[in-house]
């Protein structure tokens, strides 16, 4: 570990102890990102929150029993308490009529309350050496030493190995529990294992991020990663990478600004998540809104085009106002549609009147034709032979069904009208 830290501090503008902190934060980010994903995809994110809070009394009890701040024994206490918390959640869910969210809430608050009482007791009775256990509440990256990083690395490495080795089993159980069970997978044991891995991730991050905010470190990397990938094989490494980035940034920033690490890490992570939710290509809110707006505009333009064609068919070229009245559209929608149409070179203006030119007429006929095709599809579509599971899209029947199917459809329609 020391060698890597020295390398890091030589390569980057970091002191040796900052390099250690960065390594610790990276490991915790990787573990929380990857293992948190298993819980988030199961829809059990809040179990992570409850387990993080449950770990707190474990740390306190371990300290009271051993009387020392040895990281290994404190972590062991945290693990034990986390496991007890997990069993209590499952036990309450199974035996009583309390719903899962309520069970999680009960365990979370009661363990946390116990933890606070114990921590207060310790700080009231102990001397100066005990001070510092409260970093387990909000987290502190600055105190990470080489030995911490070693323990974190061993635990994270072990957990990562388990996930990689049993990847297919995790994937199958997380996606389709009853199918996995029909293959003979011991589903309950696998679900216990994901909870155990979650406890490992929490324990790795507990001192740096703190019990209260640890849940954000478990969830946000998956939220970010899910915006960019549709496959679990990619989601896990991407979530780990996001976790590491968030961890390093947050830990270094917090030790520089002398603020607790947990809040800083959470703010960094949430900022990334908000950006990803808004702007990720494909799934991002902004992206989807833009796609929808474009589609609606296209529909409006095509509607105005058809209305104009109808109006020209019935008499003289209309004014935009007449067009709006005749087609039952708002003046604004007609104005916008006409603007797009004249940009596309399909209409001309003549003393306030709108005239469809030759290309415009062709475009209007194409639009009408595609409307007619859609009606024909609804009427005769069931008689068509489709080569595969493709499905008709009213916005573009030809692209969605293929030329062959559309040609068949035209023939069917002609037979029906003949």
């Amino acid at each position: 570990m020391g060698v890597i830290a020295e390398q890091l501090s030589a390569t980057f503008p970091l002191t040796y102890s900052e390099a250690i902190v960065a390594m610790g934060a990276a490991i915790l980010g990787i573990a929380a990102g990857m293992l948190g994903a298993l819980a988030v995809l199961q829809g059990r994110s809040l179990v992570g929150d409850a387990l993080a809070h449950s770990a707190l009394p474990g740390v306190a009890v371990a300290f009271i029993v051993t009387g020392a701040k040895d990281p290994a024994s404190l972590l062991a206490g945290a693990i034990l308490a986390g496991i007890v918390g997990a069993f209590m959640i499952v036990g309450i869910e199974r035996t009583s009529r309390i719903r899962p969210d309520a069970a999680i809430g009960v365990v979370l608050s009661s363990f946390f309350a116990l933890g606070i009482v114990l921590l207060t007791y310790i700080s009231n009775t102990g001397g100066a050496q005990q001070a510092g256990l409260d970093t387990y509440l909000f987290g502190q990256a600055a105190g990470i030493v080489e030995r911490d990083v070693e323990i974190m690395a061993v635990m994270a490495g072990g957990a990562a190995l388990v996930v990689v080795a049993f990847f297919r089993i995790f994937k199958t159980v997380l996606f389709d529990r009853s199918f996995a069970s029909s293959l003979g997978v011991p589903v309950k044991i696998v679900e216990l294992a994901t909870t155990a891995l979650l406890v490992v991730a929490i324990v790795i991050g507990l001192r740096t991020v703190g019990a209260i905010l640890m849940v954000a470190m478990l969830i946000t990397p998956t939220v970010v990663a899910r915006q960019f990938t549709n496959r679990l094989v990619w989601l896990l490494p991407v979530a780990a990478l996001v976790g590491a980035t968030v961890g390093i940034t947050g830990a270094l920033a917090s030790s520089q600004a002398e603020v607790p690490t947990g809040p800083v890490i959470v703010l960094v992570g949430v900022s990334l998540a908000v950006l990803a939710i808004l702007f990720a290509p494909g799934r991002g809110v902004a992206w989807r809104a833009a796609t929808l707006a474009r589609a609606r505009r296209r529909e409006n333009t095509s509607g105005v085009l058809v209305a104009l064609e109808t109006a020209m068919h019935h008499g003289a070229p209309p004014t935009p106002r007449e067009l709006a009245l005749a087609s039952g559209r708002s003046a604004r929608s007609v104005r916008r549609g006409l603007r797009d149409l004249s940009r596309a070179g399909l209409v001309q203006r003549d003393e306030g009147r709108v005239i469809l030119n030759e290309r415009g007429a062709a475009a209007a006929h194409a639009a009408l034709e595609s409307r007619r095709l859609w009606s024909a599809w609804l009427e005769h579509g069931w008689r068509l032979d489709l080569p595969d599971a493709r499905e008709a899209d009213p916005r573009d029947l030809r692209a969605s069904l293929g030329d062959d199917a559309v040609d068949q459809l035209v023939v069917l329609e002609r037979e029906a009208t003949a």
């Binding site: 199918f179 029909s182 990938t229 069931w382 599971a389």
Partner: protein, 254 residues
């Protein structure tokens, strides 16, 4: 119907199942011949899905014996492909169509070995047969209900088992998909495979299936369609209000 072999596809003997203190199935006896397309019908809450799950050992039974293709349910599990109800899974889960179908190969390939070229060819073939080959790379959430069901069927095909068990595969599925899947299942039956489906449309049961179990917590009747799907039996299962047309309905896609 293909003549039943000596070995039954699925034999259920005195099966009793309850969820907590609520009985779901009482003393159900039923048998499904091999090489036949069989349906399980009955009103809501009559225990159709539970019967399948208990037969496959997915929910514990209070009493009773189940034999799958002559073997007990534990050892015979590898001979069954199970298609759960579609709403049992999270469709936003990050897997592609191809990956889901590949899950059907895991039992043969093993959980730890690579999925080799011959295995991938089987997956391709199954995707092709349900018409989902062009959608192999899609995330499953981008599919319609019918397409999702086709993916599930492809996964079951990929398991290459003697017996296929499907739970309400046509709920919320478009008519074209239902027709395509029924056609595919008929083909499988013609090649000697056995199929058991929980189904709710008595019209298609009458026109396409070979064998039926009418269930209402107990077995109302079990046997070939013509002798079993009688107004009398349906009244016993669904109550006297259920007036069921006796003449076979025309297949909508015929």
């Amino acid at each position: 119907m293909t003549p039943a072999n000596d070995v039954l596809a699925l034999e259920i003997d005195h099966l009793t199942v309850s969820y907590r203190d609520r009985p779901v199935l009482w003393d159900v006896d039923a048998h499904f011949p091999a090489g036949a397309l069989s349906a399980i019908v009955g009103p809501n809450g009559s225990g159709k899905s539970t019967l399948l799950k208990a037969a496959l050992g997915l929910v514990p039974a209070d009493a009773g014996r189940v034999a799958i293709l002559g073997g007990s349910s534990g050892s015979a599990r590898s001979k069954v492909a199970y298609v759960p109800q579609r709403d049992a899974v999270d469709w936003d889960f990050p897997v592609t169509v191809r990956e889901v179908v590949e899950m059907g190969r895991y039992r043969s390939v093993g959980w730890f070995r690579r999925v080799g070229r011959s295995q991938r060819a089987i997956v391709d073939d199954c995707l092709e047969r349900v018409g989902m080959a062009p959608f192999a790379g899609r995330q499953i959430g981008q599919l319609s209900g019918g397409q999702r069901q086709r993916v599930f069927i492809a996964r079951a095909l990929a398991q290459q088992t003697e017996l296929l068990v499907l739970d309400e595969p046509f709920a919320g599925v478009d008519a074209r998909t239902e027709h395509a899947i029924l056609g595919l299942l008929g083909e499988l039956r013609d090649h000697g495979r056995s199929i058991v489906i929980v189904h709710h449309d008595l019209g298609t049961v009458r026109s396409t299936f070979d064998w039926v179990l009418v269930l209402n917590v107990r077995t109302v009747a079990c046997g070939p369609i013509a002798e079993t799907l009688t107004p009398e039996n349906l009244r016993r299962a669904y109550g006297s209000d259920a007036v069921v047309a006796e003449e076979p309905e025309p297949a909508p896609w015929g």
